[in-house]
């Protein structure tokens, strides 16, 4: 039995806790949060212990899963690495490039395995698109476009208990707005598909004074000459969340749209004659992307094989996100330093 402890008890922490609980061979032993009440509420739901300090948690676990906000990753991640505890770090690796560099440095120095939870690589449609691209079915890479757009993450049903603090996202100086919180997924995915990024140019609403709404359109140039486009939004109308993939190559194109026809559609005529409609796209439990990424962490850690996402990948995604923010600020294209 492997013992896992979670640092941070916000929204993503609950998603991870739910997957850890289902995973055979893993025991979720508890939570540590700087706000003890948050950890206590998480324990009420998922069981385990409320740890009074980070070190108390590290002493009691085989793995640690850091789900604190990006501004608070460096301290627990570095402490865990130095303690020799294999670590999952939620994305973004950290909110600043400097913190990311410190973490990468600690991982290299300690030799402790560090997995950056870039979950989009584990979404089955995104993973399959990369697989098809790599198979050569559409030829050499040309243009990649992805979308990750919805409304501002207002507290949902599971959040109203007070565990999550959504104010964090609305403070762009903390969260980095959509460029750091959302687009970091697409930057990582596109970099995974097309390779290193040479420069980025961004337009967006981060500095438009419309908080918590934010919206960004990025153009990317890859080192191999290919180009990319990313839309990330917290300004869509509620209920209109959408993700998209489009990859064009020299011999074909791959497309997927979350708003296309779903495999399961339910239409019920209610007594007052109003149509109640819903649709979904069910997958097997092991293909759930959050389960898959955490299971991948366990498998690779036990087998001592490299993770699909390296600490350097985590660093580069943040570097490009930060460069995009700089582009917004300066109105210029920003070159990416890959050193």
């Amino acid at each position: 039995m492997r013992r896992v402890g979670i640092v941070g008890a916000g929204a993503i922490s609950r998603t991870h806790a739910d997957r850890w609980q289902r995973m055979p061979g893993v025991d979720l032993v508890g939570f540590y949060d700087i706000v003890e009440a948050s950890a206590r509420r998480a324990v009420e739901q998922f069981g385990g212990t409320v740890f009074s300090s980070l070190h108390a948690l590290l002493d009691a676990v085989d793995y640690v899963d850091v789900c604190a906000p990006g501004t608070a990753h460096a301290e627990p991640v570095i402490a865990a690495l130095e303690a020799g505890t294999p670590t999952v770090c939620e994305k973004p690796l950290a909110n600043s490039v400097a913190d990311c560099a410190r973490i990468v440095d600690a991982a290299e120095r300690s030799g402790t395995p560090l997995f950056v939870a870039m979950v989009v690589r584990f979404f089955p449609q995104f993973a399959k698109a990369k697989h098809v691209l790599d198979s050569g079915a559409i030829g050499a890479p040309g243009v990649i476009r992805t979308v990750r757009s919805g409304s501002y993450p207002h507290p949902g049903a599971g959040w109203r208990s007070g565990v999550a603090n959504t104010g964090y996202y609305a403070d762009f100086s903390q969260s980095g707005g959509v460029l750091l919180d959302l687009c970091v997924h697409d930057i990582d995915y596109q970099r995974w598909c097309f390779g290193e990024i040479e420069r980025v140019f961004a337009r967006g609403m981060m500095f438009a004074g419309k908080e918590p709404k934010d919206h960004a359109l990025l153009t990317i140039r890859f080192a191999n000459g290919a180009v990319g486009h990313i839309e990330g939004s917290w300004a869509y109308p509620r209920g209109r969340f959408c993700t998209r993939i489009e990859i064009a190559g020299t011999g074909g194109i791959i497309e997927w749209d979350s708003r296309a026809q779903q495999p399961l559609e339910i239409s019920i005529e209610t007594e007052d004659g109003i149509l109640s409609a819903s649709s979904s796209s069910p997958t097997a439990p092991q293909d759930d992307p959050y389960y898959a990424e955490l299971a991948h962490f366990v498998t690779c850690t036990e087998a001592k094989t490299p993770y699909l996402v390296s600490p350097y990948d985590g660093l580069m995604a943040v570097k490009v996100s930060r460069a995009a923010i700089e582009s917004l600020r300066t109105g210029k294209a920003v070159a990416i330093n890959r050193a």
């Binding site: 559409i138 050499a140 040309g142 243009v143 476009r145 420069r199 140019f201 337009r203 967006g204 609403m205 419309k210 919206h215 359109l217 153009t219 990317i220 140039r221 000459g225 290919a226 180009v227 486009h229 839309e231 939004s233 300004a235 869509y236 109308p237 209109r240 064009a248 190559g249 020299t250 011999g251 074909g252 194109i253 109105g331 210029k332 294209a333």
Partner: protein, 357 residues
């Protein structure tokens, strides 16, 4: 320009014009000459005008003898080896669908011989050519209309009506695509086309944005890819424009020829407009049948929606009948061309380019 946008932003005016009484059957009051079938749109334009009451097609000029004869046969009209011969046929209007670089010489030749010219987009391959066309038409009292048929696409017209109601509140952003298949032929010849995917597919959407909001492009940044999707093509086939408009809206436009031959359709024109109160997404060519054919060896989308080309030609004919200003002027064509050329400049310099107001 205010009069122009007034004509088209008011559907009642447009519809009233369409209802103008045509002459009695068999009598033509308008004679049109077709100048070159180099651009594929020529066939579509010719098809629609050939069916309009009161319109007679006087003939086809084309510097490609075989292409010209084939077109002339299709409509059962004379073929002219020289443009001036067709211009001597007492034409009311000239429809120019030559290679982009030949727009200017043909328009300069036709101005004064005809009252009205419909010129395929882009207006020209250089700003100076476009300006020469505008100037000559003004001097000779010739109406110059640029062929931007997307303004007559019914889903796009409905978008304009909705936007004009102010339904979105403050406007934030617009994400656009005008993807296409690689058209080949002279479209990939820099001398004749003036550029590749960027000049080919920037102008339609930029014209729509200018028209929708009565605005201009203030600044453009572009990533342009040469032979990225078609090795050996010798011209740009990928374009990603990032722009800011004078009305404060920012956006992007993908002009890439990224639809392979195996794709079910030629491409798309899409606009996702985001505002304070919500969003409106238009996919102008979404009205399709899906047809799977063993003969074709693939699945295709067959468009059943209304054609913007038909509206464009009806508007052109109405302009000739009424003598009013062109609804899409040479200046409109020029502004769209300037954005495409600025995109190329931006890509060369890897920095945003400001357009002169």
């Amino acid at each position: 320009m205010t009069t122009q946008s007034k004509v088209l932003s008011d559907p009642a005016v447009f519809e009233a014009e369409q209802a103008l009484v045509a002459p009695p059957e068999g009598v033509a009051d308008i004679r049109l000459g077709l100048f070159s079938f180099a651009h594929l749109h020529a066939s579509s334009y010719a098809h629609y005008v050939s069916q309009m009451p009161g319109v007679a097609l006087a003939g086809v000029y084309d510097d490609d003898l075989e292409r010209g004869r084939r077109a002339a046969d299709t409509y059962d009209i004379p073929y002219f080896e020289q443009a001036e011969r067709l211009l001597a046929e007492e034409l009311d209007g000239a429809v120019i669908c030559s290679e982009n670089a030949a727009h200017a010489p043909l328009a300069l030749q036709a101005a004064g011989h005809v009252r009205s010219i419909l010129c395929e987009k882009p207006i020209a391959t250089t700003v100076s050519d476009g300006q020469a066309m505008i100037d000559r038409c003004r001097e000779t009292g010739t109406q110059l209309q640029i062929a931007f048929p997307m303004r007559f696409s019914p889903p796009v017209m409905e978008l304009k009506r909705k936007l004009d109601t102010g339904i979105l509140g403050e406007m934030y952003s617009v994400k656009c695509t005008n993807h296409g298949s690689m058209p080949g032929g002279w479209f990939a010849d820099p001398k004749l086309a003036g550029g590749g995917a960027v000049i080919d597919h920037t102008v339609h959407v930029i014209d729509l944005l200018r028209w929708l909001w009565n605005t201009e492009v203030e600044e453009v940044y572009a990533e342009v890819g040469h032979e990225l999707l078609h090795p050996g093509l010798g011209i740009d086939d990928v374009g990603l424009l990032s722009f800011r408009l004078t009305n404060g809206v920012f956006g992007t436009l993908d002009t890439s020829w990224s639809r392979p031959p195996s794709y079910p359709t030629w491409g798309d024109v899409k606009l996702d407009i985001l505002g304070e109160q919500g969003m409106i997404c238009v996919d102008a060519f979404e009205q399709n049948l899906q047809v799977s054919s063993d003969k074709a060896g693939k699945t295709s989308w067959v468009h059943w929606g209304s054609s913007g080309d038909e509206g464009l030609m009806a508007d052109f004919v109405a302009m000739i009948r009424t003598g009013r200003e062109a609804s899409i002027s040479g200046e409109d064509g020029q502004r769209a061309l300037e954005v495409a050329l600025a995109a190329y400049e931006s890509a060369r310099r890897a920095e945003p380019v400001r357009l002169s107001p």
